[in-house]
């Protein structure tokens, strides 16, 4: 997190960390046993007792390799290749397991759950053959593509040039100029700023998931990946836990009215987040002053919903420079707009005021896949505060639809092992960063900071479709817009 004098390439150690709680298999395998018995008998006859050929099974993945073969299939091995059912249509039936498809909720669908689980398990980028399988486009993130260059790459060094891309982002005050005296000394206030090597931090878990173990997992994983974990502070407990936790990675989250708790902190935080969402227009300047007098070098972020751009400018006026803007877990603002529009509005509010480069915009809510990170940054965020993906990486179960941050119910696995959880989050962080590198590399960009607000590096379905299809009969403006 802190700047260093010597160059060190940022790296997260990934270690395969399989699921802790068994999740439903992806596929169900049903075998018609009488048919199988008949087949075996006929093969013994036709293959003249060549048992090597008779017992040669269609499945390469071990589903029929248990002690009694296809008579007791092992669906946990099935990867859905369908070779068995193609070969034996009346004997084997492969279905997608409905229980598996129920994981997640209406926004964080089971396909996203599968992707995040794979990433947290392996630390690897999901790679598959046979092209894209999904819908053509869609709303929100799905109606947006990122650009690439045919010949430009980030650098001519390394195999792909990706090796040297920086994913460092800065959080804090970024004054547009400094004031020097005649002796060349800076006389303006020293900006409070820190750099982290990845454009994501870990957001505070919702109440239903929170526990001291989860806090510890978040804090330690944040520390090992050199990022930050936002954490609600709960009175006196803090002075106790802070002894055991890597405090430099912890961002205490203070609610209005809980100001006194800051006094009990047993450490100097790099950053503090003040949650003003219950009363975004309240006057909390005194709180800022008191935190600043207690911790002069600490960065202060303000946490509030996206929806009120005018308020952002008012907060800027009173000195706020770091904004953590949140939508609900489904990426919707209070007025129902999707987070993509909300980010854009916040970003442009500062662009139009001429102050965008002086502030840091952190966003959370609705960013649930690796590809959403570059898209959110292109739209205008500096960095992301990860929320539900962290829970999914730790195998949280959604209880019903989990949109509302306050009321959503997540069931965390019981007896969550600390080391397992830390490694799962490290794996997730590593693979999301790697995927960001893929996107940046394809664009020929050498640092993520240059991606912020670069809307020209995105293509939107509504624009592309209008350009391509407008002259086709039946294409309505409404269809494209």
């Amino acid at each position: 997190m802190a700047t260093t004098n010597s160059y060190q390439r940022y790296h997260i150690d990934t270690i395969p960390t399989p699921d802790f709680v068994p999740w439903p298999n992806k596929f169900d395998v049903k075998v018609n046993r009488p048919q199988l018995a008949k087949l075996l008998i006929s093969e013994i006859i036709h293959l003249k007792g060549d048992m090597k050929a008779v017992t040669s099974r269609p499945c390469m993945y071990g589903t029929f390799s248990g002690p009694i073969g296809g008579f007791a299939p092992r669906p946990e091995h099935c990867v859905g290749c369908l070779r068995c059912t193609v070969q034996h249509p009346k004997m084997v039936t492969i279905t997608r397991n409905a229980d598996r498809e129920r994981l997640g909720d209406s926004y964080f669908t089971s396909a996203y759950v599968d992707a995040v689980s794979y990433e947290a398990d392996t630390g690897s980028i999901p790679v598959k053959g046979a092209g894209y399988r999904g819908k053509f486009g869609g709303e929100g993130w799905d109606g947006m593509w990122t650009d690439m260059s045919e010949i430009v790459r980030p650098t001519r060094d390394g195999i792909h040039g990706r090796e040297f891309i920086s994913t460092v982002v800065d959080i804090g005050e970024k004054p547009s100029y400094l004031i020097f005296n005649d002796n060349g000394e800076i006389t303006s206030a020293k900006p409070r700023i820190l750099s982290i090597p990845v454009p994501f931090i870990y957001d505070a878990p919702p109440a239903s998931a929170a526990s001291s173990t989860l806090n510890e997992i978040l804090a330690r994983a944040a520390s090992e990946t050199q990022t930050l974990a936002v954490m609600p502070i709960d009175g006196d407990e803090w002075s106790v836990v802070s002894d055991q936790l890597p405090v430099q990675s912890i961002v205490p989250l203070i609610k209005l009215g809980d100001e006194s708790t800051i006094e009990h902190l047993g450490f100097t935080p790099s950053m503090v987040e003040i949650d003003i969402s219950d009363d975004p227009n309240s006057n909390f300047q005194n709180l800022i002053s008191s935190i600043q007098s207690q911790f002069p070098d600490t960065i202060i972020a303000v946490r509030l919903p996206y929806d009120d751009p005018d308020n952002l400018l008012k907060l800027y006026e009173i000195g706020v420079r770091v904004f953590h803007l949140f939508a609900d877990f489904h990426g919707r603002g209070q007025d129902g707009r999707f987070v993509l529009d909300l980010i854009r509005e916040a970003h442009l509010t500062f662009v139009e005021a001429g102050t965008r480069d002086e502030v840091t915009l952190i966003g959370s809510g609705g960013i649930i896949a690796a590809e959403h990170v570059p898209k959110a940054i292109i739209t205008g965020l500096d960095l992301i505060a990860l929320d539900t993906p962290l829970l999914v990486a730790l195998q949280a179960q959604f209880e019903g639809d989990c949109a509302n941050r306050k009321t959503s119910q997540f069931a965390m696995p019981k007896n969550l092992p600390l080391d397992w959880g830390i490694q799962r989050l490290k794996n997730l962080t590593a693979t999301w960063r790697d995927q960001l590198l893929e996107i940046l590399g394809a664009m020929g960009l050498r640092e993520v900071r240059r991606l912020r607000g670069e809307i020209g590096r995105a293509m939107f379905q509504v624009d592309l479709e209008r350009e391509a299809f407008a002259e086709i009969e039946g294409y309505l403006v409404e269809a494209g817009d």
Binding site: L47, A53, S56, M60, Y61, V79, G80, L82, R83, T85, V86, H88, P89, T93, I94, T95, R96, I125, P126, V127, K128, G129, A130, G131, Y132, R133, G134, K135, F136, G137, G138, M144, W145, T146, D147, M148, S149, E150, I151, R153, I159, H160, E371, Q435, E438, I439, G441, A442, M443, M459, L464, A468, F469, E471, I472, E473, G474, Y475, L476, A479
Partner: protein, 433 residues
């Protein structure tokens, strides 16, 4: 063709027999459809109808959908405005499907009998049997297939007049003689499924034979970096073309590019650098392994890139001097016709050919020993599941069905040549459903 491992042929023969029965049986729908088969782009019906066409050479006669998928956009949002029956060409009217691949007015003239050829699939990413099957079918149909970036197995040399040699950034398997063989040389700048990312053959797939072909070390991962380290500009590309022309002055040059926002400029640049063909590869296709994040998110779908390029080349007054081939999600005869109506001259097929010879689109190509159907694998035992003659017949049958449907589409539009369909967006209708 076999290496290291001893295979037990009776077991292979048993599986081959059952598989072939399955490919014929499932499209009859007697047992319904396999419940776990298919996805939005290739729904189960489209896969089964492709198996049907590969088996019979005809479009299905039962209710199986064979024209479009279920993706909710692009080709699946377009249909044709056919003429009233009385205005259509008679059923026996001659309809020409041939397209020229060199419109520059200089050099060798090459025409293909149908408006498609096969896309690059490298030795290593697919088996030699699959390459052979594709080459045989290309020969039969008077068109081409492409080596991909993995070398040129000796068994392919007899089909050299129907094989495009690909040169990609790793230069794997590129030798003077493979360029000399080639009627067309394709420079792969980028590919739609992983635009801007380069290629990666996992160590497990770099068998002794693959390594020999690629002149590399067995069992070591091979990277094709992105992009060409020697090309910074259109002028640099021109040097590439000159280099090929020195070795094979007769060869046509194709430039395979992805679909960035400035794909129209890229096409114009390719033209001025001496390309005869610009091959646009959209983001939704591809047969090889690619990061999921790239397939869905980087670069635009081909349906948007084709009209963009077509119109820009028209505005530059060079549209009739370069051939535009499109790929990346062209699944059916109807998709071929739609791509041409949007402005392409022809298309490049990949996935449809693999489905014809048994692909279920299960996406397990990179897992373990590779494709369980013997397609995207170098496993000596699994490769034997595909007999090249059988594969060639299946691909030829699919071609026959496509050709039949294309003729029917043109006839119903009152057109005598596929060349007359190019850019005719007035014959399309957008489905607002």
């Amino acid at each position: 063709m076999t290496e290291e491992i001893q295979v037990h042929l009776p077991a292979i023969e048993k599986h081959v027999e059952h598989l072939r029965q399955g490919f014929s049986y499932w499209p009859t729908l007697e047992n319904g459809m396999p419940p776990a088969l298919g996805d939005y782009r290739w729904p189960a019906e489209l896969i089964l109808s492709t198996w049907y066409q590969a088996g019979t050479g005809e479009p299905p006669v039962n209710e199986l959908e064979y024209r479009s998928g279920d993706s909710g956009g692009g080709f699946d949002k377009l249909d044709f405005k056919f003429l009233p029956e009385g205005d259509q060409l008679p059923p026996d009217a001659e309809v020409d499907l041939a397209i020229p691949l060199n419109s520059s007015g200089f050099g060798r003239e090459i025409e293909i009998a149908v408006p498609w050829y096969g896309g690059g699939m490298s030795f290593g990413s697919v088996s030699e049997q699959v390459m052979l099957a594709r080459s045989m079918a290309a020969k039969e149909w008077g068109t081409f297939t492409c080596t991909g970036e993995g070398g040129y197995p000796d068994s392919l040399v007899e089909f050299k007049d129907h094989i495009i040699t690909q040169i990609a950034t790793g230069m794997f398997g590129v030798r003077e003689e493979t360029i000399q063989h080639a009627p067309i040389v394709e420079f792969k700048y980028a590919q739609g499924a992983k635009p801007g990312l380069g290629g990666h053959l996992l160590g497990d797939k770099t068998t002794v034979t693959v390594a020999k072909m690629r002149e590399s070390v067995p069992w070591v991962s091979l990277f094709s970096p992105f992009p060409f380290h020697s090309v910074y500009s259109v002028e640099d590309h021109r040097k590439h073309v000159d280099w090929v022309k020195t070795i094979n002055p007769e060869a046509l040059v194709s430039v395979k590019v992805s679909t960035p926002t400035d794909v129209d400029m890229v096409a114009v640049g390719s033209f001025y650098a001496g390309a005869h063909i610009v091959h646009l590869d959209g983001s939704y296709g591809g047969t090889g392994a690619a990061p999921e994040i790239a397939k869905k998110n980087i670069a635009m779908p081909i349906e948007f890139a084709i009209p963009k390029v077509h119109k820009y080349l028209q505005s530059e007054n060079i549209r009739d001097e370069i051939t535009v081939m499109a790929s990346g999600g062209v699944r059916t005869a109807y998709d071929i016709a739609k791509a041409i109506a949007l402005g392409a001259d022809g298309v490049v097929l990949g996935t449809a050919e693999l489905i014809a010879i048994g692909c279920t689109r299960c996406s397990n190509c990179e897992r373990g020993r590779g494709c369980p159907f013997g397609l995207t694998t170098t496993d000596p035992e699994l490769s034997l599941l595909i007999d090249p003659q059988w594969g060639a017949k299946r691909i030829s049958n699919l071609n026959a069905s496509y050709a039949k449907q294309l003729r029917d589409i043109l006839r119903r539009l009152g057109l005598k040549s596929i060349r007359d369909l190019r850019g005719r967006t007035d014959l399309l209708v957008y489905l607002n459903t």
